[in-house]
Amino acid sequence: MSHPGPRDGDLTVLVKSAGAGDQDAWDELVGRYTNLLWSVARGYRLEQGEAADVVQVAWLRLVEHLPRVRDPERIGGWLVTTVRRECLQVINARRRRGLPVDDKVLAAIPDHGAPIDSELLAREELADMWRAFESVPPRCQRLLRMLMADPAPSYQDVAVALDMPVGSIGPTRARCLGHLRTLLEPGGQPLEAPDE
């Protein structure tokens, strides 16, 4: 499978073509970024329906924004920023309704949107990997969710979405994968229990 990154150089052409009314160019943008935007929203532990809504609003806003795009190469950052802001609004609304929002509390809530279905996850190895992923600390989940998006995002877009310096993504990635590796070892336990 190839992963044509958003920095392939034709992003400017795509954005300008979409701005000129080219539906095919728009569809290509949708194909490139929807997985990533979904990963961002799910990384914030939004329910599936909520995640779909925030991603949809980002695409609707981009339609509005197209005539005013100054730097097409940054469209990914613009989209993830929009999704992130909407995610925070959803979390804030939960807080006001008295629902749990603390990272650790959220991590303890079973995520019904991501069932481990043995039929679907035919390969036990992938099932183990996903189970381990759901046990790493929430901050790691957010980062890894983005990094695993298909196509792979640029570190620039990841930095914007997670509000962290580009330079710290590599070391944090290594640390989070270290957590994951520990969990995948026989008898591996979460390094940071979610209900502590």
Partner: protein, 149 residues
């Protein structure tokens, strides 16, 4: 491929099986393009009580209506959004120059009567996102940015 890259690749494959974006999301994202309104002026979101309350623990704030304001330089609307049985109910007031309005979702559009004081209401908007169209006495059309409800 490094071991770390291999782990990310495995996660990517697991995610595509365990938690892929719904197919309908791709469809609605593609369809969003058809909702472009190059003929209209865009009214920005100027205020949203849901955003301004960030970090504030509500004292019953969850039951308070949400207030949002949209505006261009000279045309705008203030809208109260209340949860209802089928989506939300809207009550609003717009600039004196607005003579008609409509509320739009990606799949529906309802025309709203605007009274002599600029007031309008709509008892049921399905969501999950909406925008308003405002029509002025001088024939201008203003659309608001989309908001999630």
């Amino acid at each position: 491929m490094s071991e770390q890259d291999q782990m990310i690749e495995q996660l990517r494959r697991a995610a595509l099986i365990a938690d892929p974006p719904p197919a309908a999301l791709f469809a609605s994202a593609r369809a969003a393009f058809g909702l472009s309104r190059l003929d209209a002026e865009l009214a920005a979101l100027l205020h949203d009580s849901e955003e301004s309350a960030v970090g504030v623990r509500g004292d019953g704030g969850g039951d308070a209506p949400r207030l949002v304001s949209f505006g261009t330089d000279d045309v705008g609307a203030d809208v109260e959004i209340m949860p209802g049985p089928d989506g939300v109910a809207l009550t609003g007031i717009c600039s004196a120059t607005v003579v008609a309005a409509a509320v739009q979702t990606p799949g529906s559009r309802v025309e709203l009567a605007v009274d002599e004081h600029g007031r309008f209401r709509c008892d049921s908007v399905p969501g999950p996102v909406l925008r308003l169209e405002l029509f002025t006495t001088t024939g201008r059309t203003v659309v608001t940015t989309w908001v999630r409800i």
